[in-house]
Amino acid sequence: MVGYIIQRILAAIPVMGFVALFVFLMLRLTPGDPAAIIAGDTATPEQLDRIREALGLNDPLHIQFITWIGNLLQGEFGTSVISGKPVIELIQARMEPTISLALTTIILSVLIAVPLGVIAAWKHGTLIDRFVMLISVLGFSVPVFVIGYLMISLFSMQLNWFPVQGFRPIGDGLGEFLHRIALPTFTLTLLYIALIARITRTSMLEILGDDYIRTARAKGLPEARVLMRHALRNCSVPIITVIGIGFALIISGVVVTESVFNLPGLGRLTVDAVLARDYPVIQAVILLASLIYVVVNLLIDIAYVLLDPRIRYS
């Protein structure tokens, strides 16, 4: 198991290397001179040249790449062209709202969606099943910003239950944190409930037709036991996969939700950086997002091994 994890981590290195190369080339090969952007419209040729020299832009491409990778490996992500702050600080500041939102959303979604999916499959073809499917279709088809504004309109403006916007870190108290993050969580949750409930229902339907479910019933086990212990456990692989990918998706940026609720998260940081052509920030955010995907995929694979004894990696 440990050997397998080490092997997987090693295998992630070339993946990250390719991402880094792609990000690097994207910056160098797109039209527009970074030095010109940094210097602004009024810069003289001498100023431009000095900036190029300072950025190492006069070196050959491969030297630039090696220097850049070397800096990255030392934790040196560069400074924002716009604010002049180190990129790493900018990202750190934006991590907490995004990770908080991802965790609350995924936890709430799983708590609601998995039981819904199980019940829908168990009561296959009944009204309950159709109701779950209806929620699922709604969750997929209504755009997130519509849900967001509806939530604000109903729960903030009319009922006055939740604040309209903003984020409070969990360090300021759990109650305040939950109060602020509730609406964005509800908004995103609907989509994830749709996704997870659907996957749960489909896999459960398949598993419930399996022979060992009949065996479990033939043993005279209560239905709850048959469903939870024998069926759901066997569905865990597809469900975990969706949860993992869903989590990575939220972390790597839910721009719309963050904008609607004015959350200072990574998604907003990315959009602002792209609009301002703040290349060092864009680079760092893309690298971070791919790192998160690699880590989440590794965790999913480890979960497979723990959940299904038939899956063994050498």
Binding site: Y212, A218, G220, N234, D308
Partner: protein
């Protein structure tokens, strides 16, 4: 109250509860305590549905519309769900055909057995585990402490079926329902499981409702036999009475279709032309790990075989013997590790796939399960003409020929635009054979091609193969685990065990007078080998002139 343990009266089961779509039509059956009753019938006879109805496990689309099922005088059909759960496990329990899929793959087998005690007894945790281990010992599992912690995929088919039996009998129910419990197992494993069921029946006094299609198994285990056909009882008799004096034509036909263990005389060699020859064919799996050398599995070792024009060579063996590996190597569906495969005078063992393409016409294969080997979304005509089209035959011509081929295999030519699911199992296998023949092969590889079929259908397909062989001079390589089937169709037989050829020679020699212990053991394990089913008598009573299997010791 009657002294019957199980009493089924006028049981009617219908699709969607619709009286016009009955699948079990007024079935009556009763079992005394401690008695073994076999329920015999072909697919669609309703034998498994009767068992599932007794357990209250019918799938939702099927409903009992009439009748009564009483266990120890208590009605099952109207029992509450809670009561039904108690009856299962404590009064009656069930084991299934596929031990491979009947156990939860992600739970330890010991816990799966123990779970029954958890819900049906008030034992402490320690006592439950102790009782579970005792039960695992009672079904003769080795090293029970270790096996308790194993997962199903780590066990063999026979071991899994033992786990199922331990699970079913741990609460000492008076009735065990066994639905084809040995059908998916090797013949030697089958013999062990049958003797285990007999042993436990005697120890615990359990009555057994044993569902099977195999008359050999019936002759080994039954006290009474009930024969079912399309949901109706044909007859119920004491086993020896039934085998000697069947009362209905259907039972007689069923008995006559049982493949005899006596080898048929070899077909006259039409020519000595060798169509297929292998030289020291080997297939090794694994052993090529990048970091660590993986475990080597020698699936086939030094296989030398010769197949001549118009003759049938059978490869028999249990699972893991390498018989299918050989077939797949010859088809080049997998690449052999070493050795030669001579088709005509060309070695195809190392031929590139692109060169091989033109030669594929010569050798064709029919697989075990036609439901899975025919594309379910294509009309069968399209499946049949696909090969010829690839070799440049015009569509019209190929279609014309496909119609002829369908008629040749005993199907109407008009069936050409139907889909696989619109046929029965036997008909589908005929389609698969027509598909193979469309290429005009010299060699036909049949990989367990009749194993999934009912005995009466099996006999028909075997006849068809023999007929086609005579007509086209096909060389047939017939892979099977069933010695009876091998005896009926093969001129030569090769016996394999764990990748090695144990015995190879004319069928009459190998099956009639085996030299090797392994072959002898295989023949001895075949159920019902003492019965000459087709003549309604044991072999020991056969007139001296009739052929007898040599291995009666």
């Amino acid at each position: 109250m009657s002294d019957q343990l199980l009493e089924i009266e006028n049981l009617r089961i219908a699709l969607d509860g619709n009286p016009d779509q009955q699948v079990v039509k007024g079935l009556n059956l009763s079992i005394r305590p401690g008695q073994t009753t076999c329920l015999v019938g072909e697919s669609g006879s309703g034998k498994s549905l009767t068992a599932l109805a007794t357990m209250g496990l019918l799938p939702k689309v099927l409903q009992t519309i009439e009748g009564s099922i009483k266990i120890k005088g208590e009605e099952v059909l109207t029992a509450s769900p809670g009561r039904l759960r108690t009856l299962r496990a404590t009064a009656m329990s069930m084991i299934f055909q596929e031990p491979m899929t009947a156990l939860n793959p992600v739970a330890r087998v010991g816990q799966q057995i123990e779970e029954v005690l958890e819900f049906h007894s008030d034992m402490s945790q320690g006592a439950r585990k102790k009782r579970t281990l005792e039960m695992m010992e009672a079904v003769h599992l080795p090293d029970v402490e270790k096996m308790y912690r194993s997962f199903p995929h780590q066990l063999s088919g026979g071991q899994r079926q033992r786990i199922m039996i331990a699970m079913a009998l741990i609460m000492r129910p008076q009735l065990l329902i066994a639905d084809e419990p040995t059908t998916a197992l090797d013949v030697t494993t089958q013999a062990q499981i049958l003797s285990l069921i007999r042993e436990l029946r005697e120890q615990q006094g359990t009555a057994v409702l044993f569902i099977t299609h195999d008359m050999g198994v019936v002759s080994e285990i039954a006290d009474d036999v009930t024969v079912l056909k399309l949901g109706e009882v044909m007859e119920t008799q004491q086993v020896e009475q039934l085998l000697r004096h069947p009362q209905t034509d259907y039972t007689r036909d069923l008995l006559r279709s049982v493949p005899s263990q006596v080898p048929r005389p070899p077909s006259p060699a039409a020519s000595d032309e060798v169509v297929l020859r292998t030289e020291d064919l080997c297939k090794t799996y694994g052993g090529t790990g990048l970091i660590r050398k993986g475990r080597e599995v020698r699936a086939a070792q030094d296989v030398n075989l010769t197949l001549t024009h118009g003759r049938t060579l059978g490869i028999v063996g249990e699972s893991g013997s390498g018989k299918s590996t050989v077939a797949r190597c010859i088809m080049r569906l997998i690449d052999p590790t070493s050795g030669k495969i001579m088709v005509g005078d060309e070695d195809i063992a190392v031929m590139k796939q692109s060169d091989l393409k033109a030669r594929r016409k010569k050798f064709q294969i029919v697989f075990q399960d036609p439901m899975r080997s025919l594309n379910p979304r294509r009309e069968i005509g399209e499946s049949i003409i696909e090969g010829p089209l690839n070799f440049g035959v015009s569509r019209a011509e190929a279609m014309e020929r496909a119609r002829d081929l369908l008629e040749l295999v005993g199907l109407p030519g008009s069936a050409i635009d139907r889909f696989p699911h619109q046929f029965s199992g036997g008909q589908r296998q005929r389609v698969a054979i027509a598909r193979a023949l469309a290429m005009d092969p010299d060699i036909l590889v049949a990989d367990e091609a009749v194993s999934a079929l009912d005995v009466s259908v099996q006999a028909q397909v075997l006849d068809l193969l023999a007929d086609l062989q005579e007509r086209f001079g096909l060389g047939i390589l017939f892979i099977t685990h069933d010695l009876g089937v091998a005896a009926q169709i093969c001129d030569e037989v090769m016996v394999m065990q764990t990748g090695k050829v144990i015995e190879y020679g004319p069928a009459g020699e190998v099956l009639g007078n085996p030299k090797q212990d392994y072959t002898k053991a295989l023949i001895a394990a075949a159920p019902g080998r003492h019965w000459d089913f087709a003549n309604f008598r044991p072999f020991s009573e056969a007139p001296a002139s009739a052929a007898t299997p040599a291995n009666q010791s």
